[in-house]
Symmetry: C2
Subunit: 389 residues, 2 copies
């Protein structure tokens, strides 16, 4: 395997958009190509990350995007892994470039859901879990994470206020992210007083339904050398890519307070990179609900079981803290356009490692980890990145 780089990463604003998935994907892709400083013809292949484009009556997004970019000959498949589609697509591009099949690839994640009413959109999310055994039996997607939260509270004494503190911190971070879905600082009381969605989770414990797209241009060392003039490049190194699965349904698991896919993917990534948690300067983790951020930090080994909540409450996970988590605002406040999310996490890493993150900048960040979960942990991909200049 050759060393693989993220040459550029860019995104659309997340939120409610009048654009279709094809338009959003095109916008993010063009932004990433511009940021990379390459010609569109340098792209040799692509992956699209998407979960729900059939809701817009359009599958087969690869040729739609490549035709839109004016390079219809370029092959591009769609990768779906529920909410971890984005990181899964990044991983397959990493494999293709690492293997020497291609030198330059475009990965674009996209989702468009605002044309669906809330009930329908929530139902679509449940198609990522085990629908026959969960969704069809009335276990909504928030309901499943509600069960995880309740189990965590029972086992470790985690409180609703501690969950709320995750939302408060991520809204604070998103306030400084111009591409975030929300730009509204909130308080613990705001969360506690918001409507209950699936007890103990309230509306402000949940990420929004977002439209949006994010793109990254990945390349080989050879390509990077040809395109840039030494250390001034913004390219970042992919140090590791870990990937694992978990049971489709929650009833198949002995313990609801951990996502085994994340534990395994995290271990694989740290092993590949020969690094440990103390070597990571900040994380972007999959906080589709506030509880998910706590479980992520414990699954990845950043905090012992049951101790992430206290760390969040103490401010350790703020951009200025010792373990900054989701400086972008996370899924919770930056937004969660399903197929785009895993790629969007890498946009944040790209901006942070290149000191482009403004008011949410993590000081002296050199290494970052991304953690992207499919549904309730049926899939997980963990990547580790390093500054290259």
């Amino acid at each position: 395997m050759r060393q693989v780089y993220v040459l550029s990463a860019a995104m659309t604003k997340y939120g409610k958009s009048p654009l279709s998935a094809r338009e959003l994907a095109l916008e993010a892709s063009k932004n990433a190509i511009d940021e990379a400083g390459i010609k569109v013809n340098d792209i040799q292949a692509g992956f699209i990350a998407n979960a729900f484009s059939l809701s817009e009556k359009q599958g087969h997004l690869g040729p739609i995007l490549m035709s839109g970019l004016g390079i219809p000959d370029i092959p591009a498949s769609t990768i779906e892994s529920a909410c971890s589609s984005g990181a899964s697509a990044i991983r397959e591009a990493w494999v293709n470039i690492g293997a020497g099949i291609y030198d330059c690839m475009l990965v674009t994640g996209v989702e468009k859901v605002s044309q669906l009413d809330t009930i329908t959109a929530t139902t679509y999310f449940s198609f990522g879990s085990d629908y026959i055994f969960e969704g069809a039996c009335g276990a909504s997607f928030p309901g499943l994470y509600g069960a995880i939260a309740r189990a965590h509270m029972t086992k470790y004494g985690t409180t609703e206020e501690q969950l709320a503190s995750v939302a408060v911190k991520n809204h604070e971070n998103a306030f400084y992210n111009p591409n975030a879905h929300f730009h509204k600082k909130i308080t613990v009381d705001d969360v506690m007083n918001s409507v209950v969605v699936a007890s103990p989770l309230k509306l402000y414990d949940a990420c929004p339904f977002s439209d949006g797209a994010a793109s990254a241009v990945l390349c080989s060392e050879d390509f990077l050398r040809k395109m840039t003039n030494g250390p001034s490049s913004k390219a970042i190194k992919i140090l590791a890519s870990g990937r694992a699965g978990g049971t489709g349904a929650l009833h198949q698991r002995p313990d609801l307070t951990t996502l085994n896919a994340a534990v395994l993917a995290g271990k694989e990534a740290f092993k590949q990179a020969s690094l440990s948690t103390k070597d990571i300067d900040f994380l972007e983790v999959h906080d589709c609900f506030t509880i998910a951020e706590l479980v992520a930090l414990e699954d990845l080994g950043f905090y012992p079981r049951g101790e992430a909540a206290k760390a969040e409450q103490e401010g350790q996970t703020k951009p200025s803290g010792e373990t900054p988590v989701n400086p972008s605002g996370g899924l919770k406040a930056k937004g969660h356009p399903v197929g785009a999310t895993g790629v969007g996490q890498i946009v944040e890493v790209f901006e942070q490692l290149n000191e482009m993150a403004g008011g949410r900048q993590v000081k002296d960040a050199r290494r970052a980890l991304t953690h992207n979960v499919g549904a309730t942990g049926g899939s997980c991909a963990v990547h580790i990145f390093e500054k290259n200049n």
Copy 2:
């Protein structure tokens, strides 16, 4: 890139099934694992090929399948590339094993559409083409292939009877394939007298809506050596994998009588394998409509432009002819469960190269080519295989 092998390939019967996609995928996967003679725990990762599982309210099929097999930790993403999803998934497994990421992978293609009425199913197919510019404007999926057929007739003098001869041959072949959707020999008159679907294409020019699944176990040479005792293995070699794209919509193309994605993917595959058409003993091509088989044979260079139709009529493409095409019965008569099709083509190659094909056996077949097209040519993947014993 390391040499990659198809250790085994197996399928369900294609046709109308009472089973769901998850059950079909499980059945084909178990068959392939049994045929490979491996333990389920030997599988290190997987890809699912699927286009329409949301119609059953289930996405994220990877963990559903792996949980069903009893190996939930194993990562598996879904790959969608419309009707070429199957070959695209095979290609990505080829890349992963070739790169040394994994030694043994499961690729399972699956589709379940018989729960949809005919109009809805036809509409789903149009989601693979450019829906805004085609489907939404009334250009149905058969209509698009009708336009291709009409262009071919106009440019080369191809006749409706010649198109019909493709269907007659493929139904004849499927008669000897126990897993085929249809077991009914037909005549040119039967085709000519069948209802017009999209002039000049009639019902018997079109493949059916099929349910079904197909699986293949791919492995490295190291793995193969550990699992088998020399030349008795049924494993077949993957000599080449070509992949390319084409415009999403037909109106963006200068010539409707060729799919540029197939031309490019074919050239890439032949170049990789250092082979030419005369080295191929038989082909499985993407005959979603009879015209598609003719275009495939011309795009891949097996016949000069405008001459495939005469060859079909003369019987050159029968299993006993000089260029056997679709001995399985093809999409036309073996059936076309969208996500499964590209993997199912490899099941036929596996059976033919191991002389397991009974009444449709191509004598002394040592090398085969598969050609799997996404929608109207937005994507194409071409693979070349060789007998290994």
